[in-house]
């Protein structure tokens, strides 16, 4: 399974990409979508909501189960992906382009506390044991 090198990750299977304009884009990983299966419902946070790191802020629901999505870092929601309401399967099709929401980080340095691709790979390997 390929884990993009240019992203940061959480143990709870979110990915984060720092954009040139300083916002952080958040989605769920390929591993998470594989575990959940076909997506049928996505609930994204409202724009303007202020999130603490680790706060529940979105729900992805598949044919099989519902899963909470947690804010990888603290920040204010600046955008939510409008495509996912009508086409939640976009997460299955490409988990790393079907982003859920964008954040303006309180502190960009918080990103350093997240996992890099190699660190996330180790988490996945330990889950398989």
């Amino acid at each position: 399974m390929s884990i993009p090198n240019d992203l940061k990750y959480t143990k709870s299977h979110e990915w984060v990409r720092l954009e040139d304009n300083g916002t952080a884009t958040v989605g769920i990983t390929q591993h998470a979508q594989e575990l959940l299966g076909d997506m049928v419902f996505v609930e994204t946070p409202t724009v303007g909501r202020k999130l603490n790191q680790g706060e529940e802020c979105a729900v992805v629901e598949s044919v099989k189960a519902a899963a909470d999505v947690y804010a990888p870092i603290a920040g204010e929601v600046t955008a939510a992906n409008p495509d996912l309401e009508s086409s939640p399967q976009k997460i299955n099709e490409d988990a790393y382009s079907a982003w859920l929401f964008k954040l303006k980080p309180v502190n960009v340095a918080d990103l350093n506390s997240l996992l890099d691709a190699a660190g996330y790979q180790k988490i996945l390997e330990s889950e398989e044991d």
């Binding site: 299966g37 076909d38 419902f41 629901e61 044919v63 519902a66 309401e85 299955n92």
Partner: protein
Amino acid sequence: MKTTSLNKTHHDMKAKMVDFGGWEMALHYGSQLDEHHNVRTDAGMFDVSHMLAVDINGKAARDFLRRLVANNVDKLTQPGKALYSCMLNLQGGVIDDLIIYFLTESHFRMVVNAGTADKDIAWMLARRDEIAPGLEITPRRDLAMIAVQGPNARAKVWQVIAGAQAATENLQLFQATTYDKYFIARTGYTGEDGFEIMLPSNDAAGFWRALNAAGVAPAGLGARDTLRLEAGMNLYGQDMDETTSPLESGLAWTVDLKSDRDFIGKQALLAIPVTKKLIGLILLERGVLRSHQKVSMQYDDSESEGEITSGGFSPTLNQSIALARLPLKVTAGDEVRVLVRDKMLRAKVVKYPFVRNGKSLI
């Protein structure tokens, strides 16, 4: 974990395998939604070999079944005909739901659920010793079971089993026949036409491959669940179990209380008042109904409660549906509220099935 004779085939076909009541079974082969739609529009196949066929042989077979199950096997007059029934405990709770095939007066075949098979056999052997000591009860783990379902299912089976068309094209719904090494029944758990086929385990992988080559797509337990939910068919352990009455589980039509016949559990069913019923729900807002979610409704200024027994996303209707056990006074058209995660969402009460033969009934 227990495996079926198709286990390696599922792995070869890249199935996502899961533990299903102690059996390693295929959940899906890539997309549960695609598999669901295949069955509704064309043909799909399921390995259901974890379910158990049980042969009942002996002169007392029919008398034994008259006492053992809640439906009346005297409805079975034509060889090959099948009957759906519950097997009840003395309290009127459901030990299992099952299908009984009448083959000859001294040979009936029963198909029971996987997770309940051991307790079913133990119960049947104990009742056999009381009612009909000479009867032979034989679990048939030597048989594999493959369900081929969908509008094109029968035609594709006929392509694969040479000569089977003549033998099975006149089978009625809920009727079976033996052809060559196959036991072919026009039954299913999807709301579509098709066959459920038993055959020797050793031949299962070859048959599965041949069906696949004839254009039958494999489908997993995930699609099996969404298909049966749309079809309004009960799932043992969710919609009913040993603590629930079949009369409060949408199964009154399978319980024969009219005849004088005394079956196990009958006295309890007659003594206990029925206060709830199983009925359908359609979610009116975005979200997904799941089993065990609480349902609440207002009647006469008082709050009543119930619970979802099976819920999920309906791929055919593209919205969430459920079966729920609710107070008797609830009727189709009522609006209720369901606690979905942390929100109260509106749902409409409907009669089920939701889908039959590819078409929405809602």
